[in-house]
């Protein structure tokens, strides 16, 4: 019988496998540290039951192999497919809470330096004990590539003792702990070869890797936490979504990642379990207010607000996303903002109001039903899309139809993939830019600061030229980057998003997007995560 699991639903057999002693130990490890409740939420509430068979192998149909195999950026098993070979100092639970992993506690010292106390009794896959040396090795390696999002600095990571490390980023970074949940910051064994023998501390150790074919991981018997249930996982790289789905139906794989929305009902109907994560990504359009190269129509705030009111988001979700999306209008996942998400009001579908706003702004209906003012037609160019036009399916056409109904013409320009999209962005030619973004760390200020702040997170680029509103948004997002309190950060980001969405209508949110996976009845224990990078496979198992 087909089942649907949602991201918060825990593994069915968890109670059977987690002994009382282990449970007490794990509870103890998290005591006093933020995020523990989120982890328990993810792991502890057992509702369904399927007998679990210990050991064995499960084959997973993964998406394309996008590992980097050279230089300091080599990341086999780490990113974008996190095969659980590596662990970070912390990780993120489905509620975006911070969970201690290789660090047991941390605190800010002197305004800029983070001191981490490291977990004792942990072994790397090569048998060496996990110490501060590997943390320094990892963060220095990232520093050599430019420092990454946390801004690791050359020589900025200092070993205090074997189990204590000080991290001083290149700028005062109050968001560092929330950022290092990203698997790119996972700890790798000092001096290990990240391609031939990726070595971490995770529940699985490296088995073998054939580029664009498969990555095999095996259970690490010396794991410090609850050992993985499976002996082995074979991740097969199946870049074609249809081929992935057919491989599941043929019984050649037990679990597939990246299931298209359109396949969900059919898979459920055929007895497969479908796993839908809470929204961890978003579909949105950004309005070009930069006004360069003649694309100035959206400098008129009335037009931007009219667009917001003209779109029937619920119809979009049903018609284009096959019901597999949520009507979130926060861009940054509402779950990450918590209670502060209510600050962002969003828009109802009100085409009459949209038309009224356009009329009042002087845009009168002309030939072909398209409005114009002063001889200039209200005809926009919509660039679709990031990361690829294929991801957005027919969202652009839906928007085109909706806007035409209120007298706004839309010409769609499809870009095949993200390099083509960013090249188009470089030309600044476009009014509306359709994107799908993902929240892959626990820092709510990351995406708004990266995309919309005047100075950007890494220096100004095309996003800043076209979309940065300045004004009150700027101090809000800057304060969010440097606020010490998690709640304060969420509140500030929510206010910043309120400015971007409700007041300025620069962001036109369309839907919250979930990650979807599916498994056969022979596999159980998959827990979908809003960020696919955080999926854990240690509770994955075969059914008896």
């Amino acid at each position: 019988m087909a089942r649907e699991t949602r991201g918060d639903v825990p593994p069915a057999w968890f109670d059977d496998l987690l002994t009382r002693r282990e449970a007490v130990r794990r509870l103890g490890l998290g005591a006093g540290v933020i995020g523990t409740s989120g982890w328990l939420l993810a792991c502890g509430d057992d509702k369904s039951s399927r007998a679990v068979k210990r050991g064995g192998t499960v084959t997973v149909g993964a998406e394309e192999d996008a590992y980097v195999l050279s230089g300091e950026s080599a990341n086999v098993g780490q990113y974008p497919l996190n095969a659980n070979i590596f662990e970070g100092l912390v990780r993120m639970d489905p509620s975006y809470g911070i969970v201690p992993v290789l660090a047991t506690s941390w605190r800010l010292r002197g305004g800029k330096t983070w001191r981490f106390a490291l977990r004792r009794g942990v072994r790397m896959h090569d048998g060496r004990p996990f110490t501060a040396e590997s943390v320094k090795y990892t963060f220095d390696r990232i520093a050599a590539q430019g420092g990454g999002t946390p801004g690791f600095a050359k020589g900025g990571t200092k070993i205090v003792d074997d189990h204590t490390v000080d991290v001083t980023p290149s700028f005062p970074n109050l968001r560092l702990v929330e950022q290092i949940v990203h698997p790119e910051n996972s700890i790798i064994a000092a001096g290990s070869d990240p391609v031939k023998q990726p070595t971490g501390t995770g529940p699985f150790r490296f088995g073998s890797y054939q580029r664009q074919q498969q990555l095999v991981v095996k259970r690490f018997a010396g794991y410090w936490g609850t050992p993985a249930i499976l002996d082995e996982i074979r991740f097969k790289f199946l870049p074609d979504a249809n081929a992935r789905r057919l491989a599941l139906e043929a019984g050649n794989v037990g679990l597939v990642l990246g299931v298209p929305n359109a396949a969900v009902s059919s898979l459920k109907g055929n007895g497969f379990d479908v796993h839908v994560s809470p929204a961890g990504a978003y579909e949105a359009m950004y309005a070009n207010i930069g006004g360069k190269k003649g694309y100035t129509l959206l400098q008129d705030a009335a037009v931007r607000h009219a667009i917001e009111f003209a779109i029937d988001r619920r119809a979009l979700i049903q018609g284009v996303f096959d019901g597999q999306a949520t009507p979130e209008q926060t861009m940054v996942p509402a779950r990450l903002l918590g209670g502060a998400a209510a600050t962002v009001k969003g828009y109802t579908h009100d085409p009459a109001k949209a038309q009224q706003m356009l009329e009042q702004a002087g845009w009168k209906v002309g030939g072909g039903g398209i409005r114009s003012k002063g001889g200039r037609a209200l005809a926009l160019q919509l660039i679709d899309g990031f990361p690829s036009a294929a991801v957005h399916t027919s969202v652009a056409e839906f928007v085109q139809d909706q806007l035409k109904r209120v007298g706004i013409g839309v010409k769609i320009v499809k870009t095949a993939d993200s390099p083509a999209y960013t090249a188009r962005m470089k030309s600044l030619q476009g009014d509306l830019w359709l994107e799908r973004g993902s929240q892959n760390d626990a820092n709510p200020s990351f995406l708004p600061a990266l995309l919309f702040s005047k100075k950007g997170l890494f220096g100004p680029g095309d996003y800043q030229t076209m979309f940065a509103p300045g004004g009150s948004f700027e101090p809000l997002i800057n304060q969010a980057l440097s606020a010490p309190s998690e709640q304060r950060v969420k509140s500030l980001v929510a206010q910043a998003m309120h400015t971007l969405i409700d007041r300025d209508a620069i962001v036109i949110p369309l839907a919250g997007i979930s990650a979807i996976a599916a498994s056969s009845s022979k596999v159980t224990g998959f827990v979908p995560q809003p960020s696919a990078l955080q999926v854990r496979y240690d509770r994955l198992a075969r059914t008896a």
Binding site: S73, Y79, Q210, Q212, P239, N252, P419, T422, A423, G456
Partner: protein, 317 residues
């Protein structure tokens, strides 16, 4: 020999044309390789300053003619550059995967010939019979279906419904069957149509009528005189198909996770791994013109008239 020498000499400008085409296509493809390179490594788009640095690091800020001449000079020494994504020499990547593509192309060609050739010949011999009608309809259908569609159909029937064959991967012969069929079925349709048409043309020739008039047994007329001449044209087509399969099996390789050069190229395009894209175009083009050369030489052996008039002394071969 003159014919052979002239054919080989043609290869040089053709090959240079391929390298130029590969370079120009890469230059005008949408997307900035430096931006893609950065995004791949950092998971985000670069700022203006980061983009400039990356462009310099990759040598993309050098003038285009300089980069082209350098790439040709390196290619002549078998150096097609280094992959942005794997960090491995492109030639090593291509050569490492070529045997898989070759295996697939050989299997698909054998299937195409084994199915298409006898069907086409039989259809010609039994013109307007039910067999002929079925062959014409079936071959048209097979030749019209895109290979990716055939691939999905085959997976649904043989993997999902019948559970007879694996839907992807490599290993034993069972893994080869579906991708070879996906590529070979359409080609079989083309071979059947060509074999039928050529055979019909040959059967209408005067020398066949003469052979029959002389009272030669029909088996000898068909088997020796007609088939030999018909095969010359079919062999040329099969050779071209083989070259085509070597270079254009990419979609089938992606669907079946076949570790060939086609899949490497598709993923290189996704990642804007320009050295691999350029290397693939040069490599596939080189293979294609070499296969063409071999086909021409075989054709010349099968039909010595080919070289008549080609050489200044054109009398005898």
């Amino acid at each position: 020999m003159w014919y052979v020498g002239r054919r080989v000499a043609y290869l040089v400008p053709t090959w240079l044309g391929i390298t130029l085409l590969a370079f120009v296509v890469a230059q005008f493809a949408p997307g900035d390789p430096a931006g893609a390179y950065f995004a791949r490594r950092h998971g985000r788009t670069p700022s203006n300053a980061e983009l400039t640095r990356t462009r310099h690091q990759l040598g993309l800020d050098r003038p285009a003619p300089e980069r082209y001449l350098r790439s040709v000079s390196h290619a002549l020494r078998g150096d097609l550059g280094t992959s942005y994504t794997s960090g491995l020499p492109v030639m090593r990547e291509l050569l490492g995967r070529f045997p898989s593509t070759l295996e697939l192309a050989v299997a698909a060609t054998l299937l195409a010939v084994a199915i298409g050739l006898p069907l086409g010949i039989l259809a010609a011999l039994k013109r307007n019979s039910l067999l002929d009608q079925l062959t014409r309809g079936g071959s048209l259908l097979a030749a019209s279906m895109p290979s990716f569609w055939i691939a999905y159909l085959l997976i649904i029937v043989f993997s999902v419904k019948l559970h007879l064959l694996p839907s992807f991967g490599t290993g034993g012969l069972d893994h080869l069957v579906l991708p070879a069929l996906a590529l070979g079925v359409g080609e079989a349709g083309l071979v059947a149509r060509l074999a039928r048409a050529t055979m019909l043309e040959v059967l209408g020739e005067d020398y066949i009528t003469t052979a029959r008039g002389k009272g030669l047994p029909e088996r000898r007329v068909i088997g020796v005189h007609a088939l030999k001449n018909a095969l010359a044209a079919v062999v040329t087509q099969i050779g071209l198909l083989f070259g085509f399969l070597l270079a254009y099996s990419a979609i089938v390789e992606v669907i079946f996770v076949w570790p060939g050069v086609g899949r490497l190229a598709v993923e290189a395009i996704d990642q804007r791994d320009y050295p691999v894209i350029q290397g693939f175009v040069i490599f596939a083009g080189t293979v294609f013109i070499l296969v063409n050369l071999v086909v021409d030489l075989i054709y010349q052996r099968l039909d010595p008239r080919i070289s008549l008039g080609s050489a200044p002394t054109a009398a005898v071969t």
